[in-house]
Amino acid sequence: MAASPQPDAGLRVSLEVEIPSDVAYIERVVDLVRHSCSELSFNSHQLALNVPVALSEALSNAILRGNQEDPEKRVRVCAKVDARRLVLEIADEGVRFDIDANTRDATDPDNLEREDGRGLFLMRALMDQVERFDTGPGTTQGNVVRLTLTRA
């Protein structure tokens, strides 16, 4: 595989996007983030697989599970990309959850024919780090999922 061209080490891209709790917006957010990563010369596999799939999963979770598709609730995405890595933060307004409680192995033979249960598994497989935080102080609800991917 050809090495990715070296990006401008001084270049940093920050992106903030806010969307309604509607899965129809996922593809557009993915395209915006992917374009930023492309500018920073992330390799073709990261642009075609890691970034779009992991971000789609995080957005789906935020919209469907976090915000329960409530039209009054929003999902906020913050993307920071530089020559070393991509850091994505996806924030919902839903009930807090324990990301470490979900350890189901989607590749276990017992789970292979399940229709669901691959989202978090894929995020963990495709990103270098997956973390969850509470949203800022003064709130009792809301999750921030942070995905980190080192540029290859």
Binding site: I26, L49, V53, S60, A106, T107, E115, R118, F121, L122
Partner: protein
Amino acid sequence: MSFSIKKEGEIVVVDVEGQLIVGNRQELKQKVLDELERGEKKFLIDFAQTGYIDSSGLGVLVSLSKKIREQGGELRLANLNDDLKTLFELTKLDTLFQISDTRDRALSSF
């Protein structure tokens, strides 16, 4: 993103154009189930023009595969690019589906 369906002999061929994700997976599912209800048994989904697939898209493929098998039919896949192959390998779904490199090979494998 869209899905087009056509018949090649007795095989129903579905082309997935664009992404197969949470926002459009039900459309694919319904189109295939409609064909299954009409009595079709052999299905090929061609990913030559597909971008990325998320876990919901994979889930729909698993679900359709089960429903088609229950009706005595078969679902096969073709034309996964390297990234889609990686996705199927990561999830071990490459062990669940019969996957061909080309549409012609898939069609002749039924």
